[in-house]
């Protein structure tokens, strides 16, 4: 029963990941992230995600494009580091708009960015929960095995 749960969880996770990759939400960088996770702390991915996004401080007033540029750069760095492909792409477009002082473009980019970010966050959260369940289930199944 538990074993079956583990396998199903794993299948679900794979499917979710496949979708995300297909959508371009995640890219191969995320795989690297996962690999790193396997070796050490299992919470690495979630930690990365949380840290990267917890200070999503995009300037809404657009009074200062330069400052926005800085935040954007950082955001882009974070998102690209964890493999958030679409988020990063939107950031790039956002940056272009801000450099051209294109206020409408910036607003739209911000909107889009929020969408992408929320979507990604939800999906990653889902993934993480599944992973936790899988670990628990696998732990119950193989009590001596460490993850």
């Amino acid at each position: 029963m538990l074993g079956w749960g583990v396998d199903r969880l794993r299948a679900d996770m794979s499917r979710l990941l496949a979708i995300l990759f297909h959508q371009g939400v995640l890219d191969e960088q995320f795989l690297q992230l996962q690999q790193l996770q396997d070796e050490s702390s299992p919470n690495f991915v979630s930690e990365c995600k949380t840290d990267g996004y917890c200070d999503c401080r995009l300037d809404r007033e657009f009074s200062d494009y330069k400052k926005m540029g800085i935040h954007l750069n950082q955001f882009m760095g974070s998102s690209s580091s964890i493999g958030a492909n679409r988020v990063r792409n939107v950031c790039v477009a956002f940056r272009a708009a801000s450099e051209q002082n294109n206020r409408a473009g910036c607003l739209r980019a911000l909107e889009l960015l929020e969408h992408e970010y929320c979507y990604l966050k939800n999906k990653l959260h889902e993934l993480f929960q599944m992973e936790q369940q899988r670990v628990l289930a696998a732990g119950a199944r193989y009590p001596l095995q460490q993850h």
């Binding site: 979708i19 297909h22 959508q23 371009g24 960088q29 690297q32 992230l33 790193l36 070796e39 050490s40 690495f44 930690e47 990365c48 995600k49 840290d51 990267g52 200062d64 330069k66 400052k67 540029g69 800085i70 750069n73 950082q74 882009m76 760095g77 974070s78 690209s80 580091s81 964890i82 493999g83 679409r86 990063r88 792409n89 939107v90 950031c91 790039v92 477009a93 940056r95 272009a96 708009a97 450099e99 051209q100 294109n102 409408a104 473009g105 739209r108 980019a109 909107e111 889009l112 969408h115 992408e116 929320c118 979507y119 939800n122």
Partner: protein, 660 residues
């Protein structure tokens, strides 16, 4: 903070290797590249952790730092304990390029830049600043596996140059003289840049045939310490020859310093020229500035910024190189007053206390000196100012010179535009003053001069002017808090701050006493930067500064009044010249972090088209994806989050806007 904890824990691990650092020198371990000692600096915790993990998988010794100032401090404390530095370009407390330059000059470490910004202009900037490599985020592990090549390359380069420097010296001399002349004009061209890079690294190595020999067995020889006096001589020699015609051989002859080699001079000249070029580029792009007024503080700390100012002036189109050379000559030619000597000695002492390899202050100091003297000579009206400035400066001796100076310089690299503006104005003003023999009698009390860390005094028109920019701090003469106010404003940690003159100019010095303080205030961020990167400790630092400043006050009273009057006169004249320009400068300074000023200009100018193209590419890409994905999802039967449905129209709207 987690980052700090990590640093501490990393320090713990690297502490074990510290013992071996001293013994081995720069030897390569047997398991190379395993065990490579890497320092990673990135304000983004996500990236930092990721990199740390990946580097550990490459079997490197990793130390992480989330703040550039902390990293700089760490590197200075433990020179020789790191093999390579990975640094992010965009960091809040210090521009990555500043850090890069500082590290290259101070300790000749290979520095690899990282950034999410992969545009050609950004990468070019990295190369121009001397980065060994430029990695674009997201960084893959394979890229990190290869960073050891930069360490090896540098080492072998050093060894090769040492071998060659003796035998081919004569040939080199002729070749280098010609090449130096060429390089002067082609620094900013691609080929020239690469050549410069190569020559710079060559010159660095030949610098190692220096005056100190603390470890002859090490593969890296110690470097020439360019003290203030040495640099003064250098600059006067350059000025004498003319900046375009200054060749290392002639400079060496003019300097007549025993033990100094032509190669030392050549490399120093190269760096000098690079700074000029870089600052000239910034100066041309920069807006208008406040006047550059005399050096309030000939202290080491102020010098770094001063240096930039002079060089900016020189480099800007408005000021011919000859004027700059003249400035330098004047400054250095003028015999140092007793006060200046006093200042220099402690500064040098402190510098030397930091260790023989401590170079950071020296170039900064040297470069900055001209400003102090410049004022005196260029405008005869201010002889007293200089004296008082020096006296005031002597009060600052107590402050740690090395790190502050370096930081000032480092930070100033980012603030080049503002500095250049100020310098331009200053020189113009000085020229005018030279022509007109008279000074306005007394300064208006409302015209205050802010003394910049770079020895620049920025006259503020009114408090309103500056208040328009940053949060103002009215500094009162009587208030001993005033320096503290300056300091808090000058927090290096604040979002839109850098060690920018604009920030400093917030200190609105309304009275004579205050002008003295402004110098203090301007120095503070430098110190606080180096010592206390944390925001929380900013106040502690400020209070320390305040105490020091307060101590200096009594002795400076009468002098400051003289100082103020002269500067006030100057400021009034400056104000007449260009009130709007002051505003423009202030606005720019306050709203734009200095470290971005240059970048944005360059990138904007160079990449408008590029960005549009990129946007189009992205636009198309993004547009197509959602459509495809949605259909796929429908087929698969997976529930689609409402957000996805919203994405399609939004993205197409977005892209259409972009492609307009």
């Amino acid at each position: 903070m987690a980052a700090l904890q990590r640093v501490t824990s990393s320090l713990g691990t690297s502490a074990s290797t510290y013992g071996s650092c001293k013994g081995e020198g720069v030897k390569v371990s047997d398991q190379f590249p395993a065990g490579l000692r890497v320092l990673v600096v990135d304000d983004d915790i996500t990236c930092l952790r990721l990199l740390e993990k990946m580097l550990r998988r490459c079997h490197y010794h990793v130390t992480t730092c989330s703040q550039a100032t902390a990293a700089l401090k760490l590197l200075r404390e433990r020179k020789g304990c790191f093999d390579v530095v990975l640094s992010d370009v965009h960091m809040p407390d210090m521009d990555g390029f500043k850090l890069l330059e500082l590290l290259g000059l101070e300790m000749d470490l290979p520095v690899i830049m990282m950034s999410a910004d992969g545009r050609t202009s950004a990468v070019m900037r990295g190369i121009r600043h001397g980065a060994c490599d430029y990695l674009i985020k997201p960084i893959r592990e394979e890229e990190l596996k290869n960073i050891w090549q930069h360490v090896i390359r540098k080492k072998w380069h050093d060894i090769k140059e040492q071998e060659h420097s003796g035998s081919f010296e004569d040939n080199d001399r002729h070749k280098r003289e010609n090449d130096d002349a060429e390089n002067a004009s082609s620094v900013n061209e691609g080929a020239g840049v690469l050549k410069d890079q190569k020559k710079r690294s060559i010159a660095k190595e030949e610098d190692d045939a220096e005056l100190e020999n603390d470890d002859p067995s090490a593969s890296k020889k110690p470097r020439v310490v360019w003290s203030v006096e040495l640099h003064q001589q250098f600059v006067s020699a350059v000025n004498h020859l003319g900046i375009d015609k200054a060749v290392p051989k002639r400079i060496l002859e003019l300097m007549n310093v025993p033990g100094l080699t032509r190669e030392n001079v050549a490399s120093h000249l190269q760096k000098f020229r690079l700074y000029l070029k870089r600052l000239s580029g910034v100066a041309q792009q920069g807006g208008i500035s406040n006047t550059f007024c005399g050096p309030l503080d000939s202290n080491v700390k102020l010098n770094p910024l001063g240096r930039f100012d002079i060089q900016v002036l020189a480099a800007s189109s408005q000021i011919p190189p000859q004027t700059l050379a003249a400035l330098h000559a004047e400054l250095f030619g003028r015999p140092s007053g007793s006060m200046v000597t006093t200042v220099d000695e402690p500064a040098l002492l402190q510098a030397s206390m930091q260790g023989p390899k401590c170079i950071p202050v020296e170039p900064g100091m040297a470069f900055g000196q001209p400003l102090v003297k410049c004022q005196t000579n260029m405008s005869k009206h201010f002889p007293q100012n200089v004296v008082s400035a020096e006296e005031v400066a002597s009060g600052f001796v107590a402050w740690p010179s090395n790190s502050v100076g370096t930081l000032g310089r480092g930070s100033n690299l980012g603030g080049m535009s503002s500095h250049s503006n100020m310098l331009m104005d200053l020189l113009q003003q000085q020229k005018q003053q030279q022509q007109s023999q008279q000074l306005p009698s007394l300064p208006e009390p409302s015209h205050v001069i802010n003394v910049q860390p770079s020895c620049l005094v920025v006259p503020s028109q009114t408090s309103a002017t500056f208040q328009a920019g940053n949060s103002p701090a009215s500094v009162n003469q009587n208030c001993s808090r005033s320096p503290m106010i300056d300091y808090s404003l000058l927090s290096p940690q604040s979002n839109n701050s850098s060690l920018n003159i604009g920030q400093v100019s917030n200190g609105d010095l309304k009275t004579t006493g205050v002008s003295g303080y402004s110098g203090l205030g301007s120095i503070s961020p430098l110190s606080s930067c180096s010592v206390n990167p944390d925001n929380s400790s900013q106040q502690v630092q400020s209070s320390t500064m305040t105490i020091r400043a307060a101590r200096q006050l009594p002795g400076l009273g009468p002098n400051i009044s003289n100082f103020q009057s002269s500067y006030g006169a100057k400021s009034s004249e400056v104000l007449d010249q260009g009130p709007l320009r002051n505003l423009g400068f202030v606005g720019k300074c306050t709203s734009i972090p200095s470290r971005l000023a240059v970048d944005e200009f360059e990138s904007t100018m160079n990449n408008l088209e590029h960005e549009k193209f990129y946007t189009d590419m992205n636009g198309n890409k993004v547009k197509q994806e959602p459509n495809i994905e949605f259909t796929d999802n429908t087929r698969v039967g997976i529930p689609i989050i409402p957000q996805l449905a919203q994405l399609a129209p939004t993205s197409s709207d977005l892209m259409s806007v972009f492609t307009e």
